[in-house]
């Protein structure tokens, strides 16, 4: 019996044979059982770092979802070339006239040099785009990893062998290089080079290439988990009562895989945000005029010697987002698995 079990045991009355640690009257009094999920939630709520990170991450998602509303209240959009339409905002070289990159009560985060767009709305719309793509990749990757990982682990044999070899192969690919090389190819498959590539197609291509090289880690992890779970006697107990494989996967295996799935996808999402930003930075992501978080760094990189402020807000936002998300992932893991060392 592990020590963690010992403390949560609350023996029912009239069971004198068991030396349960029912000394705690509060524990013994309550009759409703706590599920592992509820215990996890209780532990999570006690973790202050985790709760704060969750709020920060939640804030980013709220901003992303409500970007159009925020922009409307704020009264500007990310497309209008304010600096070019209105004299007095940009100087002859295309840089904001006002100090600090043109920050003012009207343009909170300043004005973009040259084109003269509003940085604040660009950023919140950019976050919206990037988070949306990262979320889509995360979902696609997680579903794929669950399907392939569980199949490989549960079915074993030939399926396991082939999934394993494909995993090895794809893991050997240099991801960033692959993205840069393949993105134009993927878009070219659907659109002839003379035509303008529609934005949705670029988005689909971005999701596809990241999904293609994204699922192996989680899939391999889940396979390992299934391999060890498969040997547990409760699986055999289910089979003795006549449960089908499908039922065993759904009712016996999956509930025990929620932890690694949740933890890994929480840690995965920010990496997809940075990957997408990286691609846009390298010029193979989304193109103008679609607002994009990563491309703001590309623009910032070109002009930072003359207008450092432009890079400031996207950069700070990105750092906060990544740090908060990783802290959240750690907290979720600690809450699920209190035995694992920090």
């Amino acid at each position: 019996m592990t020590s963690s079990t010992e403390t949560t045991v609350s023996g029912p009355p009239g069971e004198p044979d068991e030396t349960t640690t029912a000394a705690d009257p509060a524990v013994a009094a309550e009759l409703v059982g706590r599920s592992p999920g509820q215990l996890m939630w209780l532990r999570f709520k006690r973790d202050r770092t985790g709760v704060i990170s969750a709020y920060v991450v939640g804030f980013f998602f709220v901003v992303a979802i409500l970007a159009p509303v925020i922009a409307k209240l704020y009264g500007k959009d990310p497309y209008t070339l304010y600096g070019q339409n209105e004299p007095g905002l940009l100087n002859d070289f295309g840089y904001p006239i006002a100090p600090n990159g043109g920050m003012s009560g009207r343009f909170w985060f300043g004005i973009e040099p040259n084109l003269g767009r509003d940085v604040f709305t660009q950023l919140i719309y950019g976050i919206r785009t990037s988070l949306g793509i990262a979320l889509a990749v995360t979902i696609a990757v997680t579903v794929t990893a669950i399907l392939l990982g569980i199949s490989a682990g549960y079915l074993g044999g030939r399926v396991d062998y082939f999934v394993g070899r494909i995993t090895d192969l794809l893991m050997a690919f240099p991801a960033q290089l692959f993205f840069v090389a393949v993105m134009p190819v993927v878009t070219a498959v659907f659109v002839s080079p003379v035509d303008e590539t529609p934005t949705y197609l670029r988005v689909v291509a971005l999701i596809t290439v990241q999904w293609f090289l994204g699922w192996m880690g989680l899939s391999r992890l889940l396979r390992g988990q299934v391999l060890s779970l498969r040997e547990r006697e409760f699986i055999e107990a289910a089979r003795v009562t006549g449960a089908s494989s499908w039922r065993i996967v759904r009712r016996e295996l999956l509930p025990n895989l929620v932890t690694p799935i949740l933890v890994q996808s929480t840690l995965m999402l920010p990496t997809f945000v940075t990957a997408e930003a990286g691609l846009s930075f390298l010029g193979v992501g989304l193109v103008e005029p679609t607002p994009d978080w990563g491309r703001m760094f590309a623009i910032g990189g070109e002009i930072y010697q003359n207008d450092l402020t432009y890079m400031f807000f996207p950069g700070i936002a990105m750092v906060i987002f990544i740090v908060a998300f990783n802290l959240l992932g750690d907290s979720v893991r600690d809450a699920f698995d209190p035995k694992a060392a920090r």
Binding site: V9, L31, V32, E233, A237, V240, G242, N256
Partner: protein, 376 residues
Amino acid sequence: MSNDISLSKAPAAAAAGEPAGETLLQVSGLTKHFPVMGGFPFKRQVGTVQAVDGIDLTVRAAESFGLVGESGCGKSTTGRLITRLLEPTAGTVSYRGQDISHATRKELAPVRSEIQMIFQDPYSSLNPRQTVGTIIGGPMEINGINPPGGREKRVRELLETVGLNPEHFNRFPHEFSGGQRQRIGVARALALEPRLIVADEPVSALDVSIQAQVVNLLQQVQREMGIAFLFIAHDLAIVRHFSQRVAVMYLGKIVEVGDRDSIYQRPRHPYTHALLSAVPEVELEGEERERERIRLAGDVPSPINPPSGCRFRTRCWKAADKCAVEEPPLIRLAGAEEGHLTACHFPEEPTIAARDEDIVMDPALAALEDVSDRPQ
């Protein structure tokens, strides 16, 4: 090889006579070999684990049958073959006359509910993410059983039957102790109202103080509900109070089988003698004499490469040349009771009284001695 043995043995078993009670389970020539894979870079089979090698046994309705042997003898594999968690390499398992040796899940469905299993490890046999109610009610759900009053009512009844608080059906396994968990496992096995339960060392993972209570529960269940048990254990102490008939298993083979009294008081196989002398307090009624003392040293040899002839010969103090070349058939020895079969060329006296000299086997020393010099 194993087939020959089981064939030559069949008449012996028949000669032992078919005692009263419907035959529920009939196992003959049951064999399970696991492949051992190895090699690089291409995996291929480099050997076989002969976990179970041609065993025969019969379990009658409402009877408790004990299967005893050291760890690694193939007891769990036998249990899993009978519940068809594993598919036999050879031999047959028939339940009430129906051959289920190679039945698929769908073909098994009608008898599934009648053969249930209780597992050894109370910590790994309950899904940590399911409530007790789901764990015990699951079998009914899978088999589409809707008891009068609903499944929840039945789950509560079952919890009460196994001595747990029926209000705890919403709790999770981690909230129970080992003994309580094992009771949940018993309730799950009872949920389908089975006629045969394979109990694979159901108490050996529990505290000694709790073992007796769980055994009592099983005994009560067995008697009151008339369920047949195949009770697997690694020593003879627990089985003694539980089983009417006992089989002793060594390295994939049954070496001795018979009625309880016959096995405990008139054992013939050296291995049974050794196991019995390890039982702490087998008090013999009316027998004041001192008991024999045998200490078996070493481990069970690897089932990948079992000894030739009699598999026990590497640890047997009576082993002779014949034991290495000829496998002893499982037969009824002269003077043995009906149904008492022994597989040994040089069986021991049918008594467990003290010998002139205690037997202390050390395989390292035994290997140095010339085996043929020993008295037979």
